[in-house]
């Protein structure tokens, strides 16, 4: 049989302790993974662990070899079905966790459990592939502490040992390890670029800007409090109403959804600029798009990016990691004055034969107006004067003729509805127009000068093309509800449930959020972004040559060795001999005073012998010496008497040298 026989007695207690602690370690290290892995993985792992725990308690037989093989194979199959691969961080961690549980089915003895401990640490570090937030780092502190306590108890199980004892032992090692880890973190040479390919990380459920908009569906995005990006302006920041962060331009409409359409045409930076340039630095959170956000309208772009004909800023790959870039924009700038007609044509296309009422309205405006500008004005006036209502809960639009439904029936909507309907009307009136999506606004954090732009500030507006003037920004939402543009979403919606509105109602909460954001962006900038570039600056600051590996090795090795030596001194101090009892120390003082008179106590000499010898030489001290000696013997060997009285006696004992002529021998 392959079954592992249950050990008996003491040995069994040790095994049980090992198992319990290994499960603790695996649980705390795997817990964050369960939030983003398929539920079946967590459930299966928990069930296997539970079964093993009960089997240990009840003395059940472990599954045989073939059952374990079958279990392992089904784990492989399950992961393959779920992720379509065995590679990559997600499939990898799932497989690691499940196979650890299979291993648990046959584990016994130090070796097996130690292997499981190593897997626990691996699962722990894999957490950082998904998330490197302060929150996770804070979670990992106790997680590493308890996993290391588990390691101690797996290596040296002792049923008598209390949790507090283990915790203290581990803390005494972890605390001195921190400065050494910090030194290694700062000085260990980083490299730029991966050693091998990145496994693809599917950011499931990541909220961010969507690349299309369907005004009929409710937007969940507007409710999200998550940070989209941070901005730092060089010099004075533009007013909030001018903070239009451009992301994508939507050209195509199919009666329901606005989308970008074909691949973007490359464009030239041909904008006509006016006023002063605005320089700023953006820290972009991963958006999983290949687009960067720039202030309307960018003129100078970060490296490795290109501009589309519609002034979208594209990167060559998706932004899957936090990205930092500098850009320059002009608040008043126009582009596309010389845009060819064939290019403008796609911004005039409408679905065939829909929304008859909107088309009729546009035709009416077109015949009434002398210039395209007047048509734009008609539309804005309509939004402003008619009972249009800005709301995040507009109700769902279904079926065909959605623009008509919105313009003439519901008249409730948010930016997407207004921008979409506006562009539709313009195109129907023969004016090239398209939707621009991005963000509008931003909140300054007074603590670090950074502007924070959150997902809830996602916005959609329109651009219309006028011959000779190029593309002009028109924000129809501003016509309905100017507060949305000037003061932000929270002020425009005082009665509606909005993630951010609580901060307006309770300003101190806003202050807390500001401090947190400052901490978070400091964390991003200094801890997470610490790579070759920052490291080079740090080397510079402490006077190291970047690239002089021998010097670096000497400095790094020296510091590690120094810290180890310090720890060694601490260990020696910690293991110093115990202090003598106070009575013995007092008696030693007494002996020292006699030694100064030339009567040192010999190593072999007992207190009574010593007293006799002293008295024989110094008869004048007989009374005190005998008194002290008697009391000492009583205190030390019979545990009788008053130690404080003894101390007073010793303190008061100040024998003088006898006259120099006095012979030492009696």
């Amino acid at each position: 049989m392959n079954a592992v026989a249950a050990p008996f007695g003491h040995e069994r207690d040790l095994e049980r302790q090992r198992l319990d602690w290994v499960l603790v370690a695996l649980a705390v290290m795997a817990a964050p993974h369960l939030l983003h892995l398929s539920p079946w993985i967590g459930v299966s792992a928990a069930l296997l662990a539970l079964w093993r725990l009960v089997a240990q308690r009840r003395g059940w037989r472990m599954p045989g070899r073939y059952s374990r093989y079958a279990l392992a194979l089904s784990c492989f199959a399950g992961v393959l079905v779920t992720f379509h691969t065995l590679n990559g961080p997600e499939a990898g961690t799932s497989l690691l966790l499940l196979l650890a549980m299979v291993k648990l089915m046959e584990s016994k003895g130090l070796r097996d459990y130690f292997l499981l401990m190593v897997i626990a640490y691996f699962l722990g570090i894999a957490n950082f592939l998904y998330d490197q937030t302060i929150q996770l780092a804070l979670y990992m502190i106790p997680a590493v502490l308890f996993t290391t306590v588990a390691l101690l108890n797996v290596a040296h199980p002792d049923p008598e040992r209390k949790l507090g004892t283990s915790l203290r032992s581990v803390a005494r090692l972890l605390l001195p390890a921190l400065p050494m880890a910090a030194v290694l973190f700062l000085l260990f040479p980083r490299i730029s670029g991966p050693l091998w390919g990145f496994g693809s990380l599917k950011h499931q459920g990541v909220t961010g800007l969507s690349t299309s908009m369907s005004p009929g569906d409710l937007s969940q995005l507007a409710q999200s409090d998550e940070i989209a990006f941070h901005v730092k302006f060089d010099g004075v920041a533009p007013p909030r109403s001018e903070l239009y962060w451009r992301a994508l331009v939507l050209h195509e409409y199919d009666g329901k959804t606005w989308s970008s359409g074909n691949l973007p045409w490359r464009g030239e930076a041909d904008a006509v600029t006016e006023g002063a340039p605005i320089h700023y630095q953006v820290t972009l959170e991963p958006n999983n798009l290949s687009v960067l956000y720039t202030l309307d309208l960018p003129t100078k772009l970060p490296d490795d990016t290109y501009l589309s004909a519609s002034y979208e800023t594209f990167t060559h790959g998706s932004v899957t990691e936090r990205k930092l870039y500098d850009a320059t924009s002009y608040a008043r700038a126009r582009y596309g004055t010389a845009m060819p007609l064939w290019m403008l044509r796609r911004d005039l296309v409408l679905p065939k034969d829909d929304d008859p009422r909107a088309r009729a309205l546009a035709q009416k405006w077109r015949s009434a107006a002398k210039t395209p500008e007047e048509v734009v004005q008609y539309a804005l006036t309509m939004f402003h004067d008619q009972p249009f209502h800005y709301t995040l809960q507009p109700g769902v639009l279904t079926g065909a003729d959605r623009i008509d439904q919105f313009l003439f029936d519901s008249r409730r909507g948010f930016c997407e509805h207004y921008a979409g309907a506006f562009v539709y009307l313009m195109r129907a009136a023969g004016i090239p127009a398209h939707v621009v999506i991005g963000y509008q606004g931003g909140t300054q954090n007074p603590l670090d000068d950074y502007y924070v732009v959150r997902q809830q500030e996602a916005h959609a507006w329109a651009e219309v093309w006028m011959a000779g003037r190029g593309w002009l920004r028109v924000d129809p939402t501003g016509a309905v509800d100017p507060a949305r543009v000037e003061e932000g979403l929270a002020d425009s919606l005082p009665d509606e449930d909005l993630a951010g509105s609580i901060y307006v109602r309770y300003p101190w909460l806003g202050a807390v959020r500001n401090s947190w954001d400052a901490l978070d962006s400091g964390w991003d900038k200094w801890v997470l972004a610490y790579g070759p570039a920052l490291q080079e600056r740090f080397y510079d600051k402490i006077g190291l040559d970047y690239g002089d590996w021998l010097q670096l090795a000497l400095v790094l090795g020296g510091m590690v060795a120094g810290l180890m030596a310090l720890y060694w001194l601490y260990l020696l101090w910690d293991r110093r001999p115990p202090a003598a009892p106070p009575v013995v120390r007092d008696y030693a003082r007494f002996c020292a005073r006699l030694a100064r008179l030339g009567l040192p106590r010999a190593a072999h000499e007992g207190p009574l012998d010593y007293a006799r010898r002293v008295v024989a030489v110094r008869a004048d001290l007989t009374e005190t010496v005998l008194d002290i000696t008697d009391r000492y013997v009583e205190l030390r060997y019979q545990d009788e008497g008053d130690p404080r009285a003894f101390r007073r006696l010793v303190t008061g004992f100040r024998p003088r040298r006898r006259g120099k002529a006095a012979p030492d021998r009696a």
Binding site: F122, I125, A155, H156, A181, L184, R190, S192, R576
Partner: protein, 327 residues
């Protein structure tokens, strides 16, 4: 072949350690110069893990991955010092080792003193020639008695040989150890024969010229029944009172003396003779009899009691000037 090379290597290491440490007395302090340390297999596995973690962190340019890797690396490195300090300064004092019969496990009792303010954890002692270990914590400023087991094979003096003191506490990544070569022996009696001839009959009147008296006249009390007691001597009435079989003892001048003689066992080989004699001594001692032992070159006059037992067993153990067992 690999095993052979390994054995040769280990022998050379042992000789090197022995020559640089010198012989040990009965009291040994584990000082810096006699404390060695190496990573355990688990330590190597942990190191490999850290290396993979480092590669992963480099590949993904993952700051927190670096932090955790470096933290674990520092932890492992410091645990080396901690493991070393866990043994440093301990004092081993040879306490006692009681004689055993060949084939039994001898226990060398060592007092392990910890003259420091910190408890020493999972201190493990073992003799080189025995795979079993004893492990215990040594309290701060205290001591613990460690009964180091050593299996015995044959009679004579058996020396403890090389003693290893070790502990991979705290994490089992590093194993510091110290070798102690105490000049310490335990007496191993011959293993008593499983099947021995019956005890020789008492030789009436021949024992030291004592007159043969009626041994059953002087009642000397009761003792527990042992196999071989004559049923006639069982005190049936007393036995029912005490719920166990009791045998009447007869003492005084009437006690019979028996001689266990090497010469009477002619035809058996030496070790078997010794085993039989050993069995006889044990049986007679257990029965509280007086007995004498005659070996070539040594005569132990009849007596009873613990001293006689020890005298006789020691003579049997060391018969023929057996060579001392050396590692």
């Amino acid at each position: 072949m690999f095993a052979k090379a390994r054995a040769r290597f280990q022998r050379r290491i042992r000789e090197w350690a022995k020559s640089r440490q010198g012989p040990d007395g009965r009291r040994v302090t584990i000082a810096q110069r006699r404390l060695y340390i190496l990573p355990t297999p688990q330590g190597f596995l942990f190191g490999l893990t850290l290396f993979v973690m480092l590669l992963g962190s480099l590949n993904y340019a993952n700051s927190m991955g670096f932090m955790l890797t470096f933290l674990l690396f520092s932890l492992a490195l410091l645990s080396m010092h901690a493991a070393h300090a866990n043994l440093l300064g301990l004092e081993l004092v040879a306490a006692s080792a009681e004689p055993v019969f060949a084939g039994e496990t001898a226990r060398f009792h060592l007092a392990v003193h910890n003259p420091s303010r910190r408890v020493r954890i999972a201190v493990t002692l073992s003799a080189e020639r025995d795979e079993r270990t004893v492990t215990s914590d040594i309290p701060a400023d205290g001591q613990n008695l460690a009964p180091v087991p050593l299996v015995t094979a044959r009679r004579g003096w058996q020396s403890l040989g090389r003693l290893a003191v070790e502990s991979s506490y705290p994490f089992g990544l590093f194993r510091p150890w110290s070798w102690v070569y105490m000049d310490w022996k335990v007496l191993v009696y011959p293993a008593p024969a499983e099947q021995a001839p019956p005890l020789p009959e008492p030789l009436g009147g021949q024992g030291l010229g004592r007159p043969n008296q009626q041994g059953e006249d002087d009642f000397g009390g009761l003792r527990q029944y042992q196999r071989g007691d004559s049923p006639r001597r069982i005190a049936w009435k007393a036995s029912t009172r005490h719920e166990e079989l009791l045998t009447k003892r007869f003492s005084g001048a009437g006690e019979q003396t028996r001689w266990f003689e090497w010469a009477t066992l002619a035809g058996l080989d030496d070790e078997t003779r010794l085993a039989v004699l050993c069995r006889w001594v044990l049986t007679a001692h257990a029965a509280g009899m007086a007995y004498g032992l005659k070996l070539p070159g040594a005569v132990f006059p009849p007596a009873s009691g613990e001293e006689q037992r020890q005298r006789c067993l020691q003579a049997l153990a060391l018969f023929g000037g057996v060579a001392e067992m050396q590692p």
